[in-house]
């Protein structure tokens, strides 16, 4: 859902000196800015439990790429060129596939058990000398915390491979349990998800990566270093084993400043509160929806900050799709569920109530779901025709992709 963006952080990140600072300004004119980034690196190190942080990736996907590229560099340094496979959890987001291919690896998919945890037996058979690494999202793409994570880490490390964490869902466990403590070698964060960077209709984001000791030399540059009381940039020259830079300067610096101020104001107590409220909201919503007759994807598991609801029964019985229901929700003025992935769970809604929502909003959402269920039973066409109350009705996506109109032209305007 939409998240409130704290305006205080916003204003402080936009102090005139910060807005006017040229990326190539000499370090003598950069101590204030560098101090903020350094402190942010330290904070992220603490909350992830990793040994080192690079803030430079511009978004989660770039952080994900950086993680895989570092694993590649690690094995290359060890001359282990036979490692050409990355194992990816089947419940995960589609960008992983591309990030892996970008690094020249092949992808293999690890099955999950019906309870949502990784199938350790299958994992064991897949791991081997060709395994470069294993990529998991914690909590998973369907919002469960993998209870066997320690065993997974032990197995992965046992074959000399590394464990890669997609931290997009870390919000749910911030201040409770850390990727570093679970045995991950690399984690990438998504600062406009859990750390209150403004969403901006898509971006800009920021996707810092944190690494264990084994990957430290490979972190993307620039990184901020501290010697005595002097901050400085560590770049290609200072860090020759780095996978290098991923943007012309230092990534989305303005976003990083906002996140830094947010973390200052949240503090130790606040980050845990975010996790707790997000988890409370998700579990409450899950229980209320189950009471209302909806079926959870993982009914016997705790929700983290999100969970899946499957509409298989409704789709089968009522001739409406989960897409219809999500469009109809728009008419009720409730933020519709993000989408209907992961593909292994068809006709599934992924629900992710923000930690800033109150009980009233959650109850309204449950009410809307109940009404729509009733509508689907009595008048399925109503639901299939949704939405009705927005500036446009259901848009023709097929036409959009077929009769491409991507730029206004004076001639055909």
């Amino acid at each position: 859902g939409t998240r409130y963006t704290p305006r205080g952080a916003d204003s402080l990140a936009m102090l005139p000196e910060f807005l006017a600072r040229h990326p190539e300004a000499p370090e003598g004119h950069s101590q204030g800015f560098l101090a903020c980034l350094y402190d942010l690196q330290e904070m992220l190190r603490v909350v992830t439990g990793m040994q080192g942080i690079s803030l430079t990736p511009a978004a989660g996907a770039q952080g994900e790429f950086a993680g895989v590229a570092m694993i590649k560099a690690y094995h290359a340094a060890r001359q282990e060129f036979e490692r050409d496979e990355m194992l990816v959890s089947a419940a995960d987001h589609g960008s992983k596939q591309a990030s892996v291919v970008m690094c020249g690896y092949k992808v293999r998919s690890i099955p999950t058990k019906p309870d949502g945890d990784i199938d350790l037996a299958s994992l064991k058979t897949m791991l081997g000398r060709r395994t470069a690494g294993v990529m998991l999202t914690i909590p998973s793409g369907l919002g469960v915390f993998d209870r066997g994570i320690e065993a997974v880490a032990a197995l992965v490390h046992g074959v000399g491979a590394l464990l890669h964490c997609d931290g997009v869902n870390l919000t749910a466990i911030l201040g409770k349990v850390r990727p570093g403590d679970m045995g991950f070698d690399v984690v990438h964060l998504d600062l406009h998800k859990g750390f209150f960077a403004p969403h901006g209709g898509g971006g800009p984001g920021a996707g810092p990566v944190g690494v264990s000791a084994s990957l430290l030399p490979y972190l993307p540059v620039p990184i901020v270093g501290l010697a005595g009381d002097r901050y400085s940039w560590l770049c290609e020259q200072e860090r020759p084993e780095s996978i290098g830079r991923l943007s012309a300067f230092a990534g989305n610096a303005g976003v990083l400043l906002r996140v830094y101020v947010n973390l200052l104001m949240l503090g130790r107590e606040g980050i845990t509160r975010v996790a707790e409220y997000a988890t409370l909201n998700a579990n409450y919503l899950l229980k209320e929806l189950m009471k209302a007759g909806f079926e959870a994807v993982h009914p016997d598991r705790r929700a983290t900050h999100e969970f899946g609801v499957t509409l298989r029964r409704q789709v089968r019985e009522l001739e409406v799709s989960s897409r219809d229901i999500s469009k109809r929700l728009l008419d009720y003025g409730v933020d519709a569920p993000a989408t209907w992935f992961p593909p292994i769970f068809p006709e599934c809604l992924l629900l992710k109530p923000a930690e800033t929502e109150n009980k009233e909003t959650l109850d309204r959402f449950v009410g809307a779901m109940k009404s729509i269920l009733k509508e689907a039973e009595t008048d399925p066409d109503l639901v299939k025709g949704a939405p009705y109350r927005l500036p446009v009705r259901r848009l023709d996506d097929v036409r959009a992709a077929r009769d491409l109109d991507l730029a206004w032209k004076p001639a055909n305007g």
Binding site: T2, P23, V46, G200, V392
Partner: protein, 453 residues
């Protein structure tokens, strides 16, 4: 709410996490501070950095952004909007992206534009990957990248495409002109070259012979990738019109279109191409379509996931855009109009020329290249640039970028830019300070007679 869930405490909701993994209170994480305390800290740090007078360009330009741009872009409706996954509920965001695509297509004279990428450097990486996908005839995956292109762009592109078997081959620049001498390309005649990258203006501010380069690529079956400064397009010929048929792909950084310098980001990258290649275009793309009632609406189309799996290898994992920066750029372009952009470009350009004139009157100081430039140029000093720049900075003047790290062959060279914000007075101060700084380093302590006599 706990009652409804059936637990006693919030802690119980975390009972699936093995106890031994719980991290406890994170003592190393500081405790919360109030907004007023945060404000005090940040203001003090901002003051440490100050606002020196900036003559550095090199990919990030100190342009004036009209106040209305960010006052509109920062409205909550844009600022906190979620990604437009549900098109029907995001028509404002989507129409704005469509307008952006339209403006960028018009500015570059290309057929289509995507809805932005992270920055100019990563946009170049995407452009290279796209060129490899497009050029099915070429098997070499050799891409010619001029040394006169921004060094960071070259590094970033290399870092991103390196593991996909793509070779970026450096093309030297002409030592007198600072440009790619088209004669140099003859050594590649008839070879399998996948793509040629053409910066305009290049990193030195020098204008390339774009038409000739594009024609060479066409004859030799190489895909052309232009890397441009969008502001320059209001006065220079756009990549869609270079040579006989224009370039195939065009990319660059949108910073000059309304993004504050902000330490290097967030900016945004843009990527445009011919209609024929649109299905290879990475990143978000918004299309105009109709709803079930026949009313015009906008939606994300050509979903990236489909596009990127079309051909194995040359993959891209882009999932998002730099929405807010694009919002600002769209407002900025609408507010300035073609006229406002070209006025700004012309004013930057003439300021930089004036700066060059003034500096080159100092003994031992000269303009490095003899080719025409756009709003940026290389100046050679009689002494090492490093110390001079440090002295200037101590007087709150950022005098330019030291080129000795990336271009040691240029000697004591700096890259200077004076945007429309720099006044004649500031240029005089820079000139005066530079004279003294050079003298301080024993460069040319006494000036016997005016230069040029």
């Amino acid at each position: 709410m706990l009652g409804a869930i059936g637990v006693d405490s919030i802690e119980a909701l975390f009972d699936e996490i093995p106890d031994r993994l719980l991290c406890g209170t994170l003592e190393a994480m500081p405790t919360a501070v109030s907004e007023v305390d945060a404000s005090r800290l940040m203001s003090a740090r901002a003051r440490l950095d100050g606002v020196p007078t900036c003559f550095i360009g090199a990919g990030a330009y100190d342009h004036y952004v009209p106040a209305a741009v960010w006052q509109i872009a920062a409205r909550g409706e844009f600022y906190s909007a979620s990604a437009p996954c549900q098109a029907e509920a995001s028509q404002g965001t989507l129409q704005l992206l469509y307008e952006f695509q339209s403006m960028m297509a018009a500015l570059t004279a290309m057929d289509v534009s995507n809805a932005s990428l992270y920055d100019g450097a990563s946009a170049l990486a995407e452009a290279v990957l796209m060129a490899v996908r497009i050029n099915r005839k070429s098997k070499s995956r050799r891409v010619l990248v001029p040394k006169s292109l921004h060094p960071a762009y070259r590094r970033v592109a290399g870092n991103i495409v390196r593991n996909q078997g793509i070779v970026l081959e450096e093309l030297p620049y002409d030592p007198a002109g600072g440009h790619i001498d088209p004669v140099l390309l003859q050594q590649y005649d008839g070879l399998d070259i996948t793509a040629l990258v053409i910066p305009q203006p290049n990193f030195f501010g020098v204008l390339e012979e774009a038409d000739t380069l594009v024609e060479w690529a066409r004859v030799n079956g190489a895909v052309t990738v232009a890397v441009v400064n969008p502001l320059s397009l209001s006065v220079l010929s756009p990549p869609g019109e270079w040579g006989e048929r224009g370039v195939d792909i065009c990319c660059g950084d949108g910073q000059p279109l309304g993004a504050p310098l902000s330490s290097g980001g967030p900016y945004f990258g843009f990527l445009c191409c011919r209609q024929a290649f649109v299905r290879h275009l990475p990143g978000w793309i918004v299309g105009r379509t109709l709803d079930v009632d026949g009313k015009t609406g906008f939606t994300l189309t050509l979903h990236a996931r489909n596009r990127r799996t079309r051909r194995s290898g040359a993959a891209s994992n882009i999932c998002t855009n730099q929405g807010l920066m694009v919002t600002a750029a769209t407002i900025h372009m609408a507010l300035m109009g073609a006229e406002g952009l070209s006025r700004t470009a012309a004013s930057c350009h003439s300021n930089t020329l004036r700066l060059g004139e003034r500096l080159s009157m100092l003994p031992g100081v000269s303009i490095r290249f003899d080719r025409p430039v756009f709003h940026e140029q290389v100046v050679t000093l009689p002494v090492a640039a490093n110390g001079v720049l440090r002295t200037l900075a101590a007087h709150n003047v950022l005098g330019g970028l030291d080129l000795s790290r990336d271009y040691p062959e240029l000697g004591n060279a700096i890259l200077c830019c004076a945007t429309e914000r720099r006044t004649a007075e500031e240029i005089e101060i820079f000139t005066g300070r530079l004279e003294r700084a050079v003298a301080l380093q024993g460069g040319a302590p006494c000036r016997l007679q005016p230069k040029g006599w």
